[in-house]
């Protein structure tokens, strides 16, 4: 089996989910499952007017690529795309996309889940809130739950 090279993009612009699925599946007859995860900006019951995503250029691409390569090593995938936006994002807009393609569904589900858990705790992005009432927004606090979610994918040390 030829090595799958993940597509990783860090961009300010929006993405088109259907186009990204088509990019992985076009001309292929061996893919039986495509799982997509889209992360969107919430307004937190009207409290937020936007989220501003700061990132570490260079490391953001490198770290997501490292996580994507680990997913390809762990699951039999036939395609993998990860797109993460930066800059100011309004409620209802896309923030992040993972598309995982495989012959059977379980690998695609697990890989997409793993990608998101790892990305949350290791990809160098930081969210700042913009409040609807114009008051100074805060930096979003990291959640312990996200670290725990990433920990469940840790493999036992190889003997």
């Amino acid at each position: 089996m030829s090595a799958v090279v993940p597509v990783v993009r860090i961009q300010a612009e929006d993405f088109d989910v259907a186009a990204e699925i088509a990019r992985l599946t076009r001309g292929r007859n061996d893919i039986g499952a495509v799982v997509t995860f889209s992360g969107l900006c919430r307004d937190e019951q009207g409290r937020l007017s936007a989220l501003e995503l700061e990132h570490y250029p260079g490391m953001a691409e490198a770290e997501i690529s490292r996580i994507a390569c680990e997913a390809i090593e762990r699951w039999p995938l036939q395609g993998l795309t990860v797109i993460h936006r930066h800059g100011k994002i309004a409620p209802g807009e896309n923030i992040v996309l993972v598309v995982a393609a495989s012959a059977h569904r379980q690998a695609a589900f697990d890989a997409a889940n793993f990608l998101m858990d790892y990305l949350k705790s290791r990809a160098p992005f930081w969210k700042k809130e913009h409040h609807s009432d114009g008051s100074e927004g805060n930096w979003v606090d990291a959640k312990d739950a996200d670290d725990k979610a990433a920990d469940r994918w840790k493999r036992p040390p190889s003997k």
Binding site: G39, Y56, M59, V96, M116, F125, W139, V140, A142
Partner: protein, 85 residues
Amino acid sequence: MSTKLIYFAWVRERIGRPEEEVELPAGIETVADLLRWLKSRGEEYENALQYPDVIRVAINQEHVEHHEKIAGAREIALFPPMTGG
């Protein structure tokens, strides 16, 4: 040899600049040493690095733990826990 330090999110805001070039004094061997030294450089650093345990560090764009050595680092980034995704 000078080292480039880069700051993100509230670490950047509290220190008051996105990056700087520094000459590391002798004896700064680990990430923990670096954080201790930076914290002593003034009020804004003290404010940003008040709780060094929460600060995440990357050397040459890869995550490192605080006990790791910084020898050969061209670029060291300091930032809060990440909140992407």
